[in-house]
Symmetry: C2
Subunit: 200 residues, 2 copies
């Protein structure tokens, strides 16, 4: 039995459902909000509440956006002959932050996972197929996550969705830049050794 | 410049002001909410929004409560001759969780801190004095945090607020139960050695 006032307990339970928030952090946040001014509490609640009415998927690429087509799709400086396929909008955001890519994107909305009963038909595969049929794209970069499910999804896209005459690539797997060998997991390490390259 | 839609960027900034939430976790939470159903988003926003109207300080002890006096103060099974003084409502909640205390509380609302310009007059000191004047209390346990400010606050309460004939105690400082000596900070370790006790 919790000794917290009911509305505080309710908030703690709600926050615990968010990713990366355990009961401990939820309590810290709840007590912090309980101590905050009504104005500040209102700002937090409103910042959350507006999401559903303001955000939706981009009609072209599936990115999360407040205007459709999204900012990337409607930017004339982006290279329309390159499409980078990712699982989720946050993956797109991470690649944008790295500043290493100037083409367009396609957000699948997840990865193929028999365990979670997600099949290709539950993802934005047909939409990708239709974009590729238009014939402007010369390369598809499959940047799904380097996980079993992400690999399976990349393989599916490569084999079933991308036309024969379009190049299909996947970002390299290997040691993270700045990483410490002691802290890198076995699979990454062995993959990095298998795919080692000559220095001279 | 952020590449996120404005309402998402706004939410990330708002979440970053909460304790224990960095930009990284804020983004994860924001994207999670952006993917959640409007109902779920509404539940989160509402759980936050109701706090100011439902919660306030207990008129007796200063605990955060949805009914005043709070549940602890109005519980006839609690020992009214014991008052445990804490800095914040979350400290009270932590002691309640431990189940090791059955007396009453007094929540000061913070600790004395010249650096943050918090003096005794900014805390619930006078209220504590008035409770003690009624003469029923035989012991005051000063459970302010084991920090410089918490110690100073405990000392102030002991010297300036608690009447001469009332016992004043402070929980022991020492090694945490189940802790690993390698991971315990120097001050705690040296304090634990200074206050060591005979085993036989």
């Amino acid at each position: 039995v919790s000794e917290l006032p009911e509305c505080l307990e309710q908030l703690v339970r709600t926050l615990t459902r968010l990713p990366g928030i355990g009961r401990r952090s939820a309590q810290r946040i709840a007590f912090h909000l309980a101590r905050s001014s009504p104005d500040e509490v209102r700002r937090v609640a409103d910042a959350v509440a507006v999401l559903p009415e303001k955000l939706g998927p981009c009609e072209v690429c599936g990115n999360l956006t407040d205007e459709s087509p999204c900012r990337v799709c409607s930017d004339p400086r982006r290279d329309p002959t390159l499409i980078c396929v990712v699982e989720q909008p946050e993956n797109l955001a991470a690649i944008e932050r790295s500043g290493s890519y100037r083409g367009l994107y396609h957000v699948l909305g997840g990865s193929i996972s028999p365990l979670r009963s997600v099949g290709p038909e539950d993802l934005r595969m047909a939409e990708l197929g239709r974009r590729l049929e238009q014939g402007d794209v010369r390369e598809v970069i499959l940047a799904t996550n380097p996980t079993v499910e992400g690999e399976a999804t990349a393989l599916y896209v490569a084999r079933q969705v991308v036309p024969e005459d379009v190049r299909v690539t996947r970002p390299a797997t290997g040691l993270p830049v700045g990483g410490d060998l002691d802290y890198i997991d076995k699979s990454t390490l062995s993959r990095a050794f298998e795919t080692r390259h000559d220095l001279r």
